[in-house]
């Protein structure tokens, strides 16, 4: 199956939109549940740097708990942290019982983070883009997908053909079929073609069908990208 994680959406403004994003959060590694001790240490920190916690979102990590106990009062813990300027957004680790207790207190359980080194490694291997070069025309009914990279077509993409890429799409010929770039959510993805005659163009699910393409852009060498969540078609400057 091809990834269609971003369902196609017409260009009328929807009331909301769901998108994945990455955040840097402060993690509070909890070692014991002595409320008095926690409070004392917090007060000390704040004394050193007033305003350090200014409604700061934190994740409570329970991995380092010396004596895991069952009946943790998460509601009480939440109040305590709130009272010192922190906004707990969830917990992680800590075993099923602690996690169940956290859920009851309205704290979501976040997935365990992978070791930093491993994460970096996969990132670098992905950044070596796995581009796909097709050196023949793509005919009606054919579907070509470039996973994790760009799709480069040295020829025309016929009406009824579909070219899909996680990255950019380059067509060194006429683009007459459908082209879907950035299908896994890369909003920087673009589509380039020598002659725009497409049935459909799409970047990260934003799409335009043939009759929504300005006639003055048809047959032109163009690039298509997203700007403020809208598809923009620009002539390629030679």
């Amino acid at each position: 199956m091809l990834p269609r994680s971003f369902p196609l959406a017409a260009e009328e403004p929807p009331p909301f939109e769901l998108k994945g994003s990455l955040f840097t959060l402060t993690v509070l590694h909890l070692f014991q549940l002595d409320r008095a001790a926690i409070e004392r240490h917090l007060a000390e920190k704040i004394k050193q740097a007033p305003g350090f916690f200014n409604n700061t979102p934190v994740v409570i990590d329970l991995e380092g708990m010396a004596n895991p106990v069952d009946g943790v009062d998460f509601t009480g813990l939440y109040e305590l942290l709130r009272g010192h300027g922190m906004a707990p957004v969830g917990i992680r680790n800590g075993g099923p019982k602690l996690q169940a207790a956290a859920r009851l207190a309205g704290l979501p359980v976040l997935p365990e983070s992978r070791p930093v080194a491993a994460a970096k490694k996969t990132e670098s291997s992905e950044s070596v883009a796995r581009n796909r070069i097709i050196n023949h025309p793509i005919r009606s009914g054919q579907q070509i997908y470039a996973a994790d990279g760009d799709l480069i077509v040295l020829g025309a993409v016929s009406a009824g053909a579909e070219v899909i890429a996680d990255g950019n799409i380059h067509v060194y010929g006429a683009l007459r079929g459908r082209a879907l770039a950035g299908v896994k959510g890369d909003i920087e993805a673009r589509i380039f073609c020598h002659s725009l005659e497409a049935e459909l163009i799409s970047i990260v699910g934003r799409y335009r069908i043939s009759e929504q393409i300005d006639p003055s852009d048809r047959g032109k060498a163009v690039q298509i990208h997203l700007a403020q969540d809208r598809l923009v078609i620009e002539p390629l400057i030679r």
């Binding site: 005919r139 009606s140 009914g141 054919q142 025309a156 016929s158 009406a159 009824g160 053909a161 007459r176």
Partner: protein, 270 residues
Amino acid sequence: MGTVIVVTSGKGGVGKTTTSASFATGLAQRGFRTVVIDFDVGLRNLDLIMGCERRVVYDFVNVINGEANLNQALIRDKRVENLYILPASQTRDKEALIKDGVEKVLNELKQSFEYVVCDSPAGIERGALMALYFADEALVVTNPEVSSVRDSDRILGILASRSRRAEQGDPPVKEHLVLARYAPERADRGDMLSVDDVLEILGIPLLGVIPESQTVLQSSNAGVPVIMENGSEAGAAYGDLVDRFLGKNIPHRFIMTQKKGFLKRLFGGS
């Protein structure tokens, strides 16, 4: 070893069987031992166009199933030397075209014939797939209208991805475009696609343009391949097409409207 050529199109009614019959006849007239096979099992037509429908005893499926040998099933054309027809079965369906069986028959034919012409059924199902699977070259027949061109585009994609040559990573099937039922004056008026429009979309070399002609219908009904109709434009166009296939450099005829035809070309007008 002979060369296997499929005549295909995707769409029905564009002139595959007419082209198969005339192409095979033209090759045989020029001295090449040629056999033309009807792959349209269940909808047998080639025997009618070739005028041999009364002489069918055994057919392609009988040979595949080992119920007859090739010599029993091949029909020798009475008019043209070196030309043989292998008819389709009318009582079976396309499921009878087993890949191993088709391959065995084609290999045997390639031993004794220089050209094996496979007349494909319409569509992209089993019959059409089997007709093109073993091909070395393909004549893609198209009419100057958008639906026919799109279907030909689809067939070209299948030739490039699902033929034996594609699957085994051999040099690709050599593609030739045959533009049939072309009417220059209607193309000039914009009623139908022009030669250039079709070439731009399909992007494969043009082997021949066959003009729309009453003669095609008449000769089909008479069981005479139109290439044998001396004096007809369609027949002459098929003659040129065969010569071009055999490597001769012949300019395309019948692609200009009549009135700006002869004199203008004579005096260098465009």
